[in-house]
């Protein structure tokens, strides 16, 4: 069954970009300290997030998220804001 929650979908994207299993990704996973994210990974992460959530993402916004949990909360908020607008 396809993952529906923002948390699950975000973890799936992060796991793919960093070549990890979804079970290895938690809310506390730190992009730099744990996943050793480089700029190239962030560009690909943005591409993955854009495709998964079907929204355009600006690099500066996503760079503010230090952990996967922060990225999940940021996306959750962004999706809710978009719902309000539509």
């Amino acid at each position: 069954m396809a993952e529906k929650s923002v948390e699950g979908r975000m973890k799936k994207v992060v796991a793919e970009i960093f070549n990890k299993k979804v079970t290895e990704i938690s809310r506390d996973t730190d992009f730099v300290a744990d996943l050793h994210a480089k700029s190239i990974d962030i560009v690909e992460l943005i591409a993955g997030v854009e495709e998964e959530f079907k929204i355009p993402v600006v690099q500066g916004q996503v760079m503010r998220n230090r952990t996967v949990g922060e990225a999940i909360d940021w996306m959750d908020k962004k999706l809710k804001e978009m719902k309000v607008k539509t």
Binding site: E16, N19, S39, I40, V43, E44, A47, G48, E50, E51
Partner: protein, 328 residues
């Protein structure tokens, strides 16, 4: 005649395919028109043909002879996506998303041999340009981090290369060594010089003992190990690098091929490089061309976002000549 005029003349002899991904910018369309009309390059614009032509018509820009490529309809798109996914071990959806963006698509055209060089940076930030170049075009052999340089043309003196000019703020010894190797390659391929690379410091051959001087000594050694054929020396002060009489006073014994005769100056950090070029520009009335990216396996330019149309045309000419000489 400026060096850019020389590049324009040389570029016309064998016009190369230069891709301009930022077709939404007025200056890019104007530069595309000029470069095509003057026979400097075969220009490829990235964008939706209808939108590009509409904008050109509003600007009264004639795009005859300019190729307009729409990534979504490009016949080799599937091949590009496949190549990207193979290169980065990523799914098709990631590759397709990235290659829908002009900055990455333009760089990929260079990688795949469908363009010879890419000029961007009028709209995209330096970070975007460097990322696209690193990701798609790749670095030249023996170099692990990109850098940039200025060509500094000093009245009554001559021309020097100053590096790094804009990329590495506080370089490690390894990055400094890479900047030296890339600058030597630039001097040789782009300017046809015999490069003599000075690794600058506030110390000449141990005259001061400090970790910063040690970093330059270490970088010199790394560069020598990685590229044994280049003429490189350090650590040297500015005068020891440029003035033979002073080099002779400060260095005991044989000066070697660089001290007192350097034509490529590698600064220990971006503070030193930036301050130096600004001082030479202001006090010696030097003309400074750049910053120009180097260290990539194919020519890439990161324009200043304030670049004028003439600057863009000059950059297109320079990149064309660079490719001619890289592949000679």
């Amino acid at each position: 005649m400026t060096i850019i005029d020389d590049f324009k003349l040389l570029a016309k002899k064998s016009p190369k395919r230069i891709v301009l991904p930022e077709s939404s910018d007025d200056r890019i369309l104007q530069a595309a028109e000029t470069a095509t009309r003057e026979g400097i390059a075969k220009i490829i614009l990235i964008g939706k043909p209808d939108e590009v032509k509409k904008k050109a018509s509003e600007l009264k820009v004639d795009l005859s002879g300019v190729e307009i490529v729409d990534p979504s309809n490009f016949k080799k798109l599937d091949m590009y996506v496949k190549e990207y996914c193979k290169m980065r071990n990523k799914s098709e959806v990631i590759g397709r998303n990235l290659l829908s963006k002009p900055v990455y698509f333009g760089a990929m055209m260079v990688k795949m041999g469908d363009a010879d060089g890419v000029v961007m940076g009028a709209v995209y930030t330096s970070g975007d340009v460097i990322m696209a170049a690193e990701l798609f075009i790749g670095l030249q052999s023996g170099v692990e981090s990109p850098s940039s340089f200025f060509l500094v043309d000093i009245p009554n003196y001559g021309q020097l290369i100053f590096a790094d000019a804009s990329v590495n703020i506080q370089p490690t010894a390894e990055q400094l060594a890479d900047t030296a190797i890339a600058s030597a390659m630039t001097a040789k391929t782009l300017f046809n010089w015999d490069p003599k690379v000075a690794m600058l410091s506030f110390s000449t051959k141990g005259s001061a003992v400090h970790p910063d001087a040690n970093k330059v000594i270490q970088a010199t050694q790394i560069a020598k190990n990685k590229a044994p054929d280049i003429k490189i020396d350090g650590e040297l002060q500015g005068d020891s690098a440029l003035v033979p009489e002073i080099a002779q006073k400060k260095i005991k014994g044989d000066l070697g091929p660089v001290a007192g005769k350097a034509n490529v100056l590698i600064f220990p950090d971006l503070d030193a490089g930036n301050i130096s070029y600004k001082l030479v520009q202001t006090l010696a009335k030097a003309t400074c061309y750049g910053p120009i990216l180097q260290g990539f396996s194919r020519p890439v330019s990161d324009l200043s976002r304030g670049a004028k149309v003439d600057d863009i045309v000059g950059t297109i000419a320079m990149l064309g000549v660079w490719f001619q000489r890289m592949t000679k």
